[in-house]
Amino acid sequence: MNIAIPSHLRRLRVVHRLQTVLPGAVLDALCEIGMRAAGADLALCTVVDDRQHRIVGRAGTDVTVFPRIGGPVAGRRDLMLLPDMAGDVATAAHPMVDGRLERMGAAILSPLHHDGEMVGMFGIAWRGPVAAFTDRQRDLVRRLAGLGEAQIRTEMTLARLAQDAFRHLDGMRG
């Protein structure tokens, strides 16, 4: 019997596994490169389930978890440019903006996809508003998000290979 798994359940299963395998130096390095090269104040890489973002890579912030960002960010498949998050009613009351967790004033965010599903986000942010983002800053976020997705593929592949190897070993042991 072939039962199709609903898309959102498939995504949650991937996110759950990513929360286990992803945190590590590579994603921290991507964030630090983004923050320094773009002249930003912080950078983060997250995996997201139905309720919250869990930070799996960071630079310039100690936050570990924050609620999903709605408004202009929900459902986007490309770059999200948020030049004045405190002045935008859709984001102003978010704890990463109003100071409860962080005080993000502006951000360039990119969704991270795995197997066609959005599983997280990469972004660089400033603590004040930004008049205009440069082409180079946008280019950096696109490239870093691409490498973040490559890292997700690599970690998922290695995790699956390890799981298969242990299963075969168990099978051989009887």
């Binding site: 130096a25 590579v26 390095a29 991507l30 630090e32 490169i33 320094r36 090269a37 180079r136 280019d139 950096l140 490239r143 870093l144 691409g146 490498l147 490559a150 690599t154 592949t157 290695l158 290979l161 190897a165």
Partner: protein, 154 residues
């Protein structure tokens, strides 16, 4: 191009190409390469801004690096990669216990690399080493699987 030394695959990697393309943007360089040393020559595993595949580089930094060259010395060192180079920043890359290579950034003009750019270089090295490590593991698993299949066929 490419070969295998000490169990490390010395071939082109799309992700290492992407890391080099990121390096060029992040550090405002003109050329970026990741290499592994094989038979005394540097084999390019990832690159941006150069078509070189195998080249000689006599000045690989000892220890952890980085090292920087300017002017005619930089131009001479980077000659196999691109013309008109005036500044070279280079750091060793470890691939397993026995194999070494480098991450090299080069720019036209003699502007020195800033402290922030050197910090970025160290993070780029971490990305390159992690990627080489992951590809080596996956390559080893693939070779192991092919060996098993070959064994069953016999």
């Amino acid at each position: 191009m490419g070969g295998s030394v000490v169990g490390i695959r010395a071939g082109r990697s799309r992700t290492l190409d992407d890391i080099c393309a990121l390096a060029v943007v992040a550090v405002r360089a003109d050329v970026a390469v990741v290499t592994l040393v094989c038979g005394g020559m540097h084999h390019v595993m990832g690159a941006s801004g150069t078509g070189a595949e195998v080249f000689s580089f006599p000045a690989l930094p000892a220890g952890n690096g980085p090292e920087e060259w300017h002017g005619p010395e930089a131009a001479l060192l980077a000659e196999p990669l691109a013309a008109g180079i005036g500044a070279v920043l280079c750091v060793p890359v470890a691939a397993g216990e026995a194999q070494r290579g480098m991450l090299l950034l080069a720019r036209r003009g003699e502007e020195a690399f800033a402290p922030d750019e050197r910090a970025i270089l160290h993070r780029l090295r971490l990305l390159a080493e992690a990627q080489i490590g992951a590809e080596t593991v996956m390559g080893g698993i693939a070779r192991g699987a092919l060996g098993l299949i070959e064994g069953w066929r016999r």
